[in-house]
Symmetry: C2
Subunit: 387 residues, 2 copies
């Protein structure tokens, strides 16, 4: 059993995140402190500075020569299972609309490991959790977010139907040049379209500070752990001075978005419940299955499964907002914090969950409805995991 | 002599502040990342959340039962000397215009103890500096900033000439009610005007989060050190999650303002030189004189004099912007970082100064002019303090 002291540590790590979020919510909704454009200034600061610097800090401190290959394997398999599963379901239900595939994958496989995961799991499992989570974060930033970006661009392109209307003129010209260079004038429109999309995604990535931060983080981690050198203190301090505030600012920015919506459960109860099901039942389940198959055991196994049940990651949410693909559904993934309960840690998670639900949904509007959703989900989780 | 290691610590503490500022400057001036309204959103976040929480954190950790009375005495005397001196000079030069008195006092007596002072002086003198600076910060927030606010309101009132046009209707009515209650219908207009101004200042203070943070900080420090209790970890973490970023965000916000100006030395060279003279020569001199008279010695004396030569405080600058009273002059007080040199610490301060000048003025535009100003000022300081 987990001790009451541990529980206190977890609560002390999680509640401050929600305090920052509620502060933002209150300052917009009730105090009218920030207007729409001012909010977007703060959001931009978080997306362009806080989060990338925080990513760099976490990734650059994780030893790339001591990666847990089983964990990485399980993580990759989880994403594959989710993709196949979501693709089949959306094919049956909505003619395989790409936007639903993207949202399904985001919800079931891209949790908030950086902002919520590290303080929560570090409080439960100590530094081991930090090491393992840094690996998952590196994979998220390097591979999954870029694939997600690709899917978003693909969706935009499919929706526009005609290729010519797609991509900026520069990209179109580049695609044409590639065509001409290779002398393949007879290339099918489908292939040309793919090249345009790939080039657009490439451009987007090169402008994405989080991508740069991840690449720089991995590069520096390789040098740092390979040659046993450390960043000079001046550089280290220059990064921490802005990344230190990253955690609080990110949660603050979430609160600003929540306040901009007409209702806390912006997508309606039915979709919020579906989102919760994907996040707290499907996500951890499709992480647990390959983890068991690969042979991940004890603490790394527990960390892998719990992290899969964390609230929605901030980057997929930012993308969803940018491309306007169901940001209202993804936002519900935030306040349903840590509903997933795991073996004998149930008390800790239960309290963390109560913290999340009580502090966010319970206090701010929609109290009874969202509260009861949380409790139902909690019991379903407890039943599924045989507590 | 100060060791090279100490110098490195100081540089490592100061440069990151300027990195944050330059990042903001670059992102507005060159990358066009934030528009005017978005900048004001970030500024508001800094003014309403980061700075007050940072103030609370610093003040609540300083023991009010171990105040250095000599230091406080010298601080009070410095302000008195500055007020008398600036009042006499402006009387002679510009018919005693209140705006010039305010700017003169801000420049000569209200340095950036919280953001620049603590990392810099802690790097030189260790924890003792932190204890003493926290006392100066508490005085600044509790007394000097409120007096400054009073002067700003007084200036606004004088400028409007007629009493009736002044203050909001509510305040006017309150003043009238006080008049009627005391039955002094024959009261002179001057006195009634004073009551209106006092009520307006009172209202402004009650809406100022920094004032609340200071009062709460002193209250909690009294309880905490008096009864030997500590803040619960959850509360502590909830504060630090947002205040941690305060330092970086405040410098970022300064960079945003600098970028909004047409030129780095927005007020022109003549006024910038005058501002530097007030900040780096007059400020420390009128702190040193009463400190010697009162008998402040060794490290506390050095800390008192050095902190008086720090760049301009952020709160007076925010006020100046709000009331539109020479913000362009006050903003120059930032990048002239640490030009003041003190006894055998000259190498350390010299390097910190080079850091400030090189990283801020040297790199970004107006290079030669501002650079030479900095060097002249440096030599004047060295001469004045007999280095």
């Amino acid at each position: 059993m987990i001790s009451l002291n541990d529980v206190y540590h977890i609560v002390a790590a999680i509640i401050p995140l929600y305090v920052a979020m509620i502060l933002a919510y209150v300052s917009v909704k009730w105090l009218k402190l920030f207007n729409r454009d001012q909010c977007s200034g703060i959001n931009k600061f978080v997306a362009k500075f806080s989060i990338p610097l925080l990513s760099f800090q976490v990734i650059s401190k994780s030893d790339p020569f001591k990666m847990n290959l089983k964990l990485i394997g399980a993580d990759v398999l989880q994403k594959l299972i989710a993709l196949i599963m979501v693709a089949i379901i959306t094919k049956v239900r909505s003619n395989g609309h790409l936007n639903w595939i993207i949202t399904g994958i985001s919800l079931s496989t891209l949790p908030n490991t950086l902002i919520v995961g590290i303080p929560l799991l570090k409080a439960i499992y100590g530094d081991e959790a930090h090491v393992l989570l840094a690996q998952i974060i590196a994979l998220q930033s390097l591979i999954w977010y870029n694939l997600l970006l690709f899917l978003f661009e693909l969706s935009t392109a499919s929706e526009a139907h005609t290729i010519e209307a797609q991509g900026d003129p520069e990209v179109r010209q580049e695609a044409q040049e590639i065509d001409e260079r290779e002398g393949t004038k007879s290339r099918t429109p489908k292939r040309r379209r793919l090249i345009i999309i790939l080039l657009t995604v490439g451009k987007k990535l090169l402008m994405n500070p989080n991508f740069h931060a991840t690449v720089a983080g991995i590069a520096w981690a390789s040098i740092s752990f390979g040659c046993n050198v450390k960043l000079p203190k001046v550089v280290e301090n220059s990064i921490t001075i802005l990344s230190d505030g990253g955690l609080g600012m990110a949660m603050f920015s979430l609160g600003l978005f929540m306040a901009s919506q007409a209702s806390i459960v912006a997508c309606g109860t039915r979709l919020a419940l579906l989102a919760m099901f994907l996040k707290f039942i499907v996500g951890p389940a499709i992480m647990a299955a390959p983890s068991i198959a690969i042979g991940l055991k004890s603490v790394p196994f527990k960390i892998a499964v719990i992290q899969a049940a964390l609230p929605q990651g901030i980057v997929p949410f930012v993308f969803a907002k940018e491309y306007n693909v169901h940001p209202d559904i993804l936002s519900t993934g935030y306040y349903d914090c840590c509903l997933f309960l795991q073996d004998n840690r149930w008390l800790a998670c239960g309290i963390a969950n109560c913290g999340g639900v009580l502090f966010v949904v319970g206090i701010i509007g929609n109290a009874q409805k969202a509260g009861s959703e949380g409790i139902i989900c909690m019991y379903v989780c407890m039943y599924v995991y045989g507590l």
